[in-house]
């Protein structure tokens, strides 16, 4: 940019100030709206409408697109926690997750505690799917692991069971990560607990030894480093009540199908 003045400067400055001022007024109004209780409830009502519409338009078991090996991302970006970094987790990495346990409890008839070896021995589903981050990027990878439905059927859900809450070993800014899905997604055929990725053991950066795949929703729902699945009748008493780490902290949609 040149410092030299030219005759257009003043006019363009005024114009810019005017446009900026108008935009500023609109945007300041928007900021005030989202701070108000009514404004926030209107903004947040879109999630329920979108979820209702999407659920009405899709079959309960409608599948996410599956891709071929040739269509896979050459390099799959890791996001969120890339290594939980706790001494406890480091010890699990050191002994190949031999002592890792996955618990299933809460509103179930038969609480379970499974080793990684037991999980790996279960019938598994392999799927090449697209992972969509809330920020906008996508990566395609191959995931392999037992269907969550298999585990939930083995545990037997009580009649008031409504949600599956996933407890994770990673602390995000000092707080354990967690996520939750409802039973429609929990029993979806593509919802799996992946212990392998792209034909290898699940890497630490992607959630070793197990991560959730819930293919019809965005990346932050796909909990990594899963240690426990708690079946609950309501999300209200969990965390701050919004159903997930990011939902509680910054207001991401709990229904991340969009």
């Amino acid at each position: 940019m040149s410092d030299k003045k030219n005759p257009g400067d003043k006019a363009s400055l005024t114009r810019r100030a005017l446009i900026g001022g108008m935009a500023g007024t609109v945007l300041t109004g928007c900021d005030a709206f989202q701070e108000s209780e009514t404004g926030r409830s209107i903004l947040f009502s879109g999630e329920k409408i979108n979820m209702g519409l999407q659920r009405a338009l899709m079959d309960r078991d409608a599948l996410a697109r599956e891709y071929s090996e040739a269509q896979m991302s050459p390099r799959f970006r890791a996001n969120g926690t890339r290594d939980p970094g706790t001494p406890d987790y480091a010890a699990h990495v050191a002994n190949g997750f031999a002592d890792w346990r996955l618990t299933i409890d809460g509103r179930v008839d038969r609480p379970m505690s499974l080793s990684i070896a037991e999980l790996r021995a279960m019938p598994a589903r392999t799927q090449i799917t697209r992972h969509d981050c809330v920020e906008g990027w996508s990566a395609i990878g191959k995931w392999h692991g037992p269907q969550l439905a298999t585990l939930l059927k083995a545990a037997g859900l009580k009649s008031d069971a409504r949600y599956a809450v996933f407890r994770c070993a990673d602390l995000y800014r000092g707080t354990p990560y967690y996520e939750s899905i409802d039973l429609i997604d929990a029993f979806h055929p593509q919802t799996i607990l992946a212990w392998a990725m792209n034909g290898e053991m699940l890497p630490v950066a992607h959630g070793a030894p197990i991560r959730l795949r819930v293919e019809r929703q965005l990346g932050y729902k796909h909990a990594k480093y899963v240690t426990g699945i708690e079946i609950v009748p309501s999300l209200k008493p969990i965390g701050q009540g919004q159903g997930g780490y990011w939902e509680d902290r910054i207001g991401y949609d709990w229904y991340a199908g969009i």
Binding site: L43, L63, R65, Q71, G136, G251, Y252
Partner: protein
């Protein structure tokens, strides 16, 4: 035609008193220009589109790389890295992807259903057929060139039929209403993993989620370009008369500009 007969407004019925159906209107006369559904659609759109653009620019800031194809992330080649849009352009003004998405995805419902309703009503009330239909003779190079020259001389109306849209107007309105805005809706839906499961063909139509995201971004700027030209022409054509016509529906036929015959 209608004479002094009291006129009852109907949203649905074909209404001959509107738009290009009054070739006899003379300069200075007040005529009915915009139907009620058009006016409501227009102003709801002003609100919805300003919010969609502001929140959309914030969402772009979250990952300012655009790709073609079915996947695309940091290690993949992007075809465009949009600039970081400053706070005075974005909703909210401070970086907040969660709230930008709340704004965008809530007002997307208003925007999309408003558009669908306007399209349906405009088909039913004859607006599309009578005012927006492009006739073959209008798109002849000679006619197009004549209209470009007329625009450059700031002559926007056919003196013989002042309420009718000229061909450049028709092409831009039809292009925005029936191509760019629906493309924004459908590329938006294609970015939704839930909608991908519900309507997998969307992925095939647009060549993948990342292509859809790129097309969405391009269409956004086409809308911005349309708005700039639209506002400029409203100012040149007489802002008070034009804005009033979009509020009350009534439009004063401008005095004929002297010069070459139309």
């Amino acid at each position: 035609m209608h004479g002094a007969r009291a006129h009852k407004e109907s949203i649905l019925a074909e209404d001959e008193s509107y738009g290009g159906a009054r070739p006899s209107a003379r300069a200075g006369e007040m005529i009915r220009r915009h139907r009620l559904p058009t006016r409501i659609w227009h102003w709801v759109n002003v609100l919805a589109i300003v919010i969609m653009i502001g929140s959309g620019l914030m969402i772009s800031n979250a990952h300012a790389h655009l790709y073609w194809g079915i996947y695309g992330a940091n290690y993949d080649p992007s075809w465009l890295d949009p600039p970081r849009f400053p706070g005075w352009m974005t909703i909210p003004t401070d970086y907040n992807l969660a709230l930008a998405r709340r704004w965008h995805l809530t007002f997307a419902l208003l925007f999309a259903f408003n558009l669908a309703l306007f399209m349906l009503l405009s088909l039913m009330n004859g607006h599309v057929i009578r005012d927006l239909r492009i006739r073959a003779r209008e798109v002849s190079p000679r006619h197009l060139w004549a209209d470009v020259r007329a625009h450059l001389k700031l002559r926007f109306h056919d003196a013989d039929n002042p309420a009718a849209y000229n061909i450049l107007q028709k092409l831009s309105y039809v292009g925005v209403i029936f191509i760019v805005l629906p493309l924004l809706v459908f590329t938006g839906l294609t970015m939704s993993p839930g909608m991908n499961a519900a309507f997998p063909f969307l992925l095939d139509v647009f060549g993948g989620r990342q292509s859809a995201r790129s097309i969405h971004f391009i269409c956004c700027w086409l809308v911005v370009a349309f708005i700039v030209v639209h506002l400029l022409l409203v100012v040149l054509a007489g802002p008070i008369n034009e804005i009033r016509s979009m509020i009350t529906g009534k439009w004063r036929v401008p005095a004929e500009k002297r010069g070459e015959g139309a």
